[in-house]
């Protein structure tokens, strides 16, 4: 079966979406990613969508679901590389991705994830006191 590869980068998982995904593939990715977060105890997920030519309501919902699920499993999600034309269209479609952080590229996404994790650690440390 066709699958989107998920790479482990230290504490993070990197998903690079490179094809025009049909809906079943989107569902498979959602399941695979949940499993991998649990198995690897990843602290963060980077989703690189720079190759995606559109984000419609279905893929938008998937991205939101992944972020929500990851949060339940104590991992943060950052979506990187959304093309400007895709972002413009998303707004007109009426889709907002509440709770989904975005960054321009994988590098800045990685930095953002690190910052988010540091903040989380600090908050945990101060509430433990």
């Amino acid at each position: 079966m066709e699958r989107i590869p998920i790479l482990k980068l230290g504490d993070f998982l990197l998903v690079t979406i490179q094809v025009d995904m049909h809906d079943q593939l989107v569902m498979t990715l959602q399941d695979d990613l949940t499993e991998r977060i649990v198995k690897t105890q990843a602290l963060g997920v980077l989703m690189d969508i720079s190759s995606l030519e559109i984000v419609d309501s279905f893929i938008g919902r998937m991205i939101g679901n992944i972020a929500a699920m990851a949060r339940v499993l104590d991992a943060e999600t950052v979506v990187v590389g959304m093309q400007p034309a895709v972002a413009i269209t998303l707004v007109e479609l009426g889709l907002s991705l509440p709770g989904v952080r975005t960054a321009l590229n994988v590098d800045s996404g990685m930095k953002l994830l690190r910052t988010m994790l540091d903040q989380k650690e600090m908050a945990n440390a101060s509430s433990a006191r």
Partner: protein, 134 residues
């Protein structure tokens, strides 16, 4: 409105939905649409094709290049013989869904197009037509 070119594609599987997106992209590029306009019509097509498949039980889409004066445009008509829509006004509301979606497909496709028409009657299927002008 004179029609320059037209083609019909089946929508019977989620792979067909991908093929419809790709064909709409090709046609929009041929027409010289800007990248943003291409993205808008492809996104609208994706929404409507998925509705045709999921709610209409499958159907087809007709792609047409239409001309109005010196303007050319891309018109897409999605047709199914499914259960139809009881309350079209309600179905067009942002957030209304009977299938656990976001309820943004129909209303979003309307916003992403220059012209939008919908005909549907319970038991007689649904036809949604959108046009985007260059």
């Amino acid at each position: 409105m004179p029609v320059q070119r037209d083609e019909v594609m089946p929508i019977r599987s989620s792979e067909d939905v991908v093929r419809v997106r790709q064909m709409v992209r090709q046609w929009a590029v041929t027409l010289g649409f800007s990248l943003v306009d291409q993205t808008k019509i492809v996104t609208a097509a994706s929404e409507l094709a998925r509705n045709t498949l999921g709610y209409g039980g499958g159907g087809e889409v007709q792609l047409e290049i239409v001309q109005k004066g010196i303007r050319s445009g891309l018109r897409l008509t999605f047709i199914d013989q499914g259960p139809g829509i009881l309350d079209i006004e309600l179905a067009l509301k942002d957030g209304y869904t009977t299938g656990g979606g976001l309820g943004l497909g129909l209303s979003g496709a309307k916003r992403l197009s220059n012209e939008f028409e919908i005909f549907s009657r319970p038991g007689e299927g649904t036809r949604v037509s959108i046009t985007r002008w260059k």
